[in-house]
Amino acid sequence: MNEVPRKTEQATRRQFLRRSVGGASLFGLGSATGLLGFPAQAEQAGTTGGGSGGRSLGKEYTYDVSKFFKTDPALIQYDETAKIATGLGELSAVAIGPEDRVLVAGDKAVRVFSKTGERTGEFMLDERPRCLAAAAKGNIFVGMKDHVEVFDASGARQARWNNAGGDALLTALAVAEKDVFVADAGNRVVLRYDLGGKLLGRIGKKNPDKHILGFIVPSPFLDLAVGADGVLWVVNPGRHRLEAYTFDGDLQSFWGEESLGVKGFCGCCNPIHFARLPDGRFVTSEKGLPRVKVYSAKGEFEGVVAGPELFPNQTANPNSTAAHGVCMDLAVDSAGRVLLADASTREVRVFARKK
């Protein structure tokens, strides 16, 4: 389907020429020699030159979005107040546990830090974690590629839930009083489980009768959260919006718009992560144009937590970010501090509202 077929076509042509040589034909030898040389040289003979000689392309050939990488200082509402060096090679997720403990998943481990950043614990996993959540009672839910594992506060494994099936790629977890919600980016659906791991339902599948358009997930990011208001919020990244669902899967409302400008969500598919502040407002993070912003509980843009200037490792080499899954997972503690898992620095970066 892609452009590779030409390669196959070319190989076939060469095989044909090779067979001609195998027939001990001098004509074949001549053809093979021609192949060894430059197949396109003759037809292109009149169109070769000697390089650019300093020629450059016009402005219309330049992709310039530099203005969007600068943040208006008046919009920045937060200061970076701390950094927690995780010691992990590859960060996957951050979550807040009881007493504002900071849980970080990465490599094949979950590490626990106090709210002031001292490491207080660690437990190992059998495979790479993808997402993380903690229940109020201390249980820790870890999402692997295709299933969830449950650990107690000391890191002892309590359960391993059934495989989510299909092309499962679990990317987010949220724990409510009696339910656990799991975002499955691979199958573009949210799975609702009880606390024991029994599958109760699937949320977000396209359903015109219920005005549900379905999740569009071009890259492996599908986040969700349950706020204090008991509403399930899920990012629909391809539609650049957040959608509110009842636990039974009815779409209640949505907000968000596409824009490279600071008020919207940029690129093909953003935001990649979000979290709820204690008062119901939203904190979002984006890829491509790495930035963290705050929106009101109704989805109105309020300000910037961290602009692209604070992510030089990501903006310097887009090849290493974008689709390649740079982690910008977010969590919010009881004091309203924003904790960002920055995979490019392997730190949890802590932001507090300016006084």
């Binding site: 195998g22 396109a40 992709y63 890259s219």
Partner: protein, 177 residues
């Protein structure tokens, strides 16, 4: 008759020897290619190649593509609307074709004769999308210079010689996950 048989045998042996030599030369033969993960989309592939237009073209890896309605490799950063109007298209030569599939997905295809390898679309796709657009030296036109003018100018040292029987350095989904 014996003479004819000997001549036939001689030609047969000559053919066999030629085949062996040819295969050996093929095994050692290399061609130029650029590593898409090193590419910094600097435009030089379009300006430095001895061919005009360049032998470097944008290619599309469909399994990596998000089939996005808002393709950042197709649309200007701030398009007036998400349609095929020329004012909305990123490619200065109109070398990307957009076709509606099942709502809300769209297919994007490179029209190679129009592509000059400027990488403008690649930059948009890599920066904001999945990076399914990337540059490759197309060997149906590359003249395989001993010293590739683009390789010399490439600021990312993305060019290298690769075996002629594996002439492309493709991206893949696993690399992104």
């Amino acid at each position: 008759m014996l003479n004819g048989a000997m001549r036939g045998a001689f030609l047969f042996l000559l053919g066999a020897a030629t085949t062996v030599l040819f295969r050996r030369s093929q095994a050692k033969r290399t061609v130029w290619q650029l590593d898409p993960y090193k590419c910094v989309q600097c435009n030089r592939c379009a300006t430095e190649c001895v061919l005009k237009p360049s032998a470097v073209k944008c290619v599309q890896v469909y399994p990596m593509c998000g089939y996005c309605k808002l393709c950042t490799g197709y649309f200007e950063p701030e398009p007036v609307s998400l349609d095929t109007g020329a004012e909305n298209q990123l490619c200065p030569t109109g070398a990307i074709k957009r076709r509606a599939l099942e709502d809300p997905y769209y297919e994007y295809t490179i029209d190679e004769p129009r592509c000059i390898g400027c990488a403008k679309c690649v930059k948009g796709c890599v920066l904001f999308g999945n990076g399914s657009f990337f540059l490759q030296v197309r060997h149906d036109r590359c003249v395989n210079c001993d010293e590739c003018a683009i390789a010399i100018a490439c600021p990312a040292q993305a060019f290298q010689r690769v075996p002629a029987d594996k002439p492309y350095l493709m991206k893949d989904r696993e690399h992104q996950a």
